[in-house]
């Protein structure tokens, strides 16, 4: 089973990379058929990673979410799902070539640590609340990730129009109006999920408070999460009432997600999480 898990994971990674390359071919050739190929490869890549995930779950009897390989793999699958859902609107199909390269990079990053992590027993998450908390967090990040990529395209398009440059940003790039609408929806779905994630985390921390210690709520990651929740709440509200739109909104969404991810990475590297997902005994 371990070999099948490995093969599924590595093949999934290769398919993500192939999908990204096919999408880049679209940029050069302008042939929509390349987007169809990229989308099919993405589907196959996602299926492979899901198979690998399920096999690991079945093998160890616990949800594999605690290693970098596992969480990045699941994040790539969830982001892929968001991308596929977004692409149901034909007007934004060309965005595939913006979404796929970073997803392929994430898969490659996960694959770089896979030889170590895929054969390690995943640590046990203490309780169903924590499992849902981590799953929802990854889905919310996936939505914010796609939103940040969309905002990046918005900024480039807007800049091109402001500079009166004829060099189009790829073939059939969506209009600003469409990008703004998509951005609003992605943040609109991502924000409630993020809040639900934090709420579940709070409940779990309250129930299992002995696990995290008395001052768990002072952990930098917890504080940062609530700051970001506040930030996205303000951004979303301002956009909803029409006081924030266009390049400013796109910049805030892009920076918001980038800061969130960079800060989590810095905290992880500095081991300042005070935020353990797994039980003390594991």
């Amino acid at each position: 089973m371990a070999i099948i898990t490995d093969i599924a994971f590595y093949v999934g990674t290769v398919l993500f990379v192939a999908a990204a390359l096919a999408a880049q071919r679209f940029v050069r050739s302008g042939k929509p058929a390349m987007l169809d190929i990229a989308e099919r490869l993405l589907f196959m890549g996602m299926a492979c990673l899901i198979v690998s995930f399920i096999l690991r779950w079945a093998h160890w009897g616990r949800v594999p979410l605690t290693t970098m390989t596992d969480s990045l793999g699941l994040f790539a699958v969830l982001s892929g799902l968001v991308v596929v859902t977004v692409l149901r609107r034909r007007e934004v199909r060309s965005l595939l070539y913006v979404y796929l390269p970073p997803l392929a990079a994430i898969c490659l990053f996960a694959a770089a640590t896979a030889h170590r992590n895929l054969h390690t027993e995943p640590k046990e998450l203490s309780g169903i609340l924590l499992i849902i908390h981590v799953g929802l967090a990854l889905l919310a990040y996936a939505l914010f990730f796609v939103a940040s990529m969309t905002s990046f395209v918005y900024l480039l398009q807007s800049r091109r129009l402001k500079r009166r440059s004829v060099a189009a940003f790829g073939h059939g790039a969506p209009s600003l109006e469409e990008l703004d609408r998509l951005l609003f929806r992605l943040v609109g779905y991502g924000y409630p999920l993020f809040v639900a994630t934090l709420t579940l985390g709070l409940v779990w921390a309250w129930v299992d408070r002995d696990l995290l210690g008395h001052y768990w709520w002072l952990a930098p990651k917890v504080i940062l999460s609530y700051v970001m929740a506040g930030f996205f709440a303000i951004t979303f509200h301002m956009r909803r009432v029409g006081r924030l739109r266009g390049p400013k909104l796109a910049t805030l969404v892009f920076l918001g997600f980038t800061v969130l991810i960079l800060a989590y990475m810095v905290l992880s590297v500095m081991n300042l999480r005070w935020h353990y997902f797994w039980s003390a005994g594991a």
Binding site: G30, V166, S175, E178, P247
Partner: protein, 424 residues
């Protein structure tokens, strides 16, 4: 028989001359019939557009005689002395003529490279010749191939991409900002040909409502009427600016009439939804600082002209790729045409071989009187299969040789080999 194109275009003659030698749609049928007769029942097509007057002919005349007839025809049809257009007239034969038509149909020879109208005009010219039955087999094949080449050039190069008129560039830009123009509102401030052209393009793409702002209320009403638009007094401009997604300004005002403050106010009222502002007035109507405001995209006449120039440059860069496709197709067509010349030879070959077959069959059957009817038929079928097989192999080889050597030499040898008529 020769395939020839003779005529004049924007490359060789001024508009005044082309105008005088052009054929109207009503004149073309009679001109086709007249030319068909003058050129000895030749296959003829007349292509007459604002940029060119060209006659495509597949004829059996001597080149000098043909040239003389064409000049006379043009001169007599339009009462223009020959001396006035003789120098502007060009003539291409066979391979060059085929290449020329393919370039024309593909819009590689157009004044605005990549424009789409020319293909329709070539198509109309061909349809007119078809209707008057002046297009022979070669002309049919030539034009059908030209349409295929033109489509191929358009789909396999980016020669048709990027708009090359101010109004269409404005519409393209609007569609980069707004997903669809249906349901959008356009405000036109002032008047002018360019403003009206742009407005027409936008309305044809589904713009819902039109607001016309003019200092003269009567003029505003008159301009608004064709579009069922709303006339607005110039003094009320600021109160209505927020209603428009697209603003076209074309007044003769000596100073700016729209300032950043106007747009800050409008954006506030329209929840910061983007606005596309086209300032085609000279001197400009809109303060350039407006272009710095978020969600306002300002283009003046120079910006639009620059986009047009860049698009044209991008198209020109694609000409070489288009030419390669044309060259390849010319080779294909010329091969087909050369083989066409051999068709009578193939018919003669078939007749000759069948004559031999029948003669030998008769001799053999008379020497074998005991054969049953079924056996006689079997022998006859056998001889037919042998002749068919020899013919098939020979035709393939001859076609191949024609493609690589002078067709006349190849055909001469074939005729001698098979003992066909007119072999010397």
């Amino acid at each position: 028989m020769n395939l020839v194109v003779a005529g004049l275009s924007h490359h060789t003659s001024p508009l005044e001359l082309r105008e005088r030698l052009a054929f109207s749609n009503a004149e073309i049928p009679s001109a086709l019939l007249c030319l068909h007769k003058r050129l000895g029942d030749a296959g003829v097509v007349i292509l007459s557009t604002c940029n060119r007057v060209e006659i495509y002919a597949h004829h059996a005349m001597e080149p000098d005689e043909f040239r003389k007839e064409i000049r006379l025809f043009l001169s007599e049809s339009h009462s223009v002395p020959e001396e006035e257009f003789r120098d502007a007239l060009y003539e291409y034969e066979n391979r060059e003529a085929v290449g020329h038509l393919f370039r024309v149909a593909s819009s590689l020879d157009s004044m605005v490279v990549g424009e789409v109208q020319i293909l329709g005009q070539v198509h109309d010219a061909y349809i007119a010749a078809q209707a008057e039955q002046t297009a022979d087999k070669v002309i049919h094949a030539l034009f059908q191939k030209a349409f295929t080449v033109a489509k191929s050039v358009r789909t396999r190069t980016t020669i048709g991409e990027g708009k090359v008129s101010i109004s269409s560039v404005a519409v393209d830009l609007a569609q980069s900002i707004f997903q669809t123009l249906s349901g959008k509102t356009v405000m036109v401030i002032g008047s002018g040909e360019m403003a009206e052209l742009t407005l027409k393009s936008l309305v044809s793409r589904g713009v819902r409502s039109v607001l016309i702002v003019n200092r003269n209320p009567e003029r505003a009403r008159a301009l608004a009427e064709p579009y069922r638009g709303e006339p607005i007094a110039f003094e009320d401009l600021n109160d209505h600016l927020h209603r428009a997604e697209i603003v076209i300004s074309a007044t003769a005002a000596p100073r700016f009439i729209l300032h950043p403050a106007n747009f800050h106010h409008a954006l506030k009222l329209r929840a910061r939804q983007p606005m596309f502002v086209i300032d085609i007035a000279v001197p400009r109507d809109v303060d350039p600082a407006v272009g710095e405001i978020d969600n306002v995209y300002l283009y003046n006449i120079d910006d639009l002209e620059q986009v047009v120039a860049e698009n044209l440059e991008l198209r020109r860069r694609e000409i070489d790729r288009g030419m390669e496709l044309v060259e390849y197709s010319v080779n294909q067509f010329m091969q087909w045409k050369d083989v066409l010349v051999a068709e009578p030879t193939f018919v003669s070959m078939s007749e000759e071989l069948n004559t031999i077959r029948e003669r030998e069959l008769e001799r053999t059957l008379s020497a074998l009187p005991d054969l049953t009817e079924t056996q006689r038929q079997e022998v006859a079928a056998l001889t037919k299969r042998i002749v068919k097989s020899i013919l098939q192999r020979s035709v393939v080889e001859i076609k191949h040789e024609i493609g690589h050597h002078d067709p006349n030499t190849v055909l001469h040898l074939v005729k001698r080999f098979f003992g066909l008529k007119d072999a010397t």
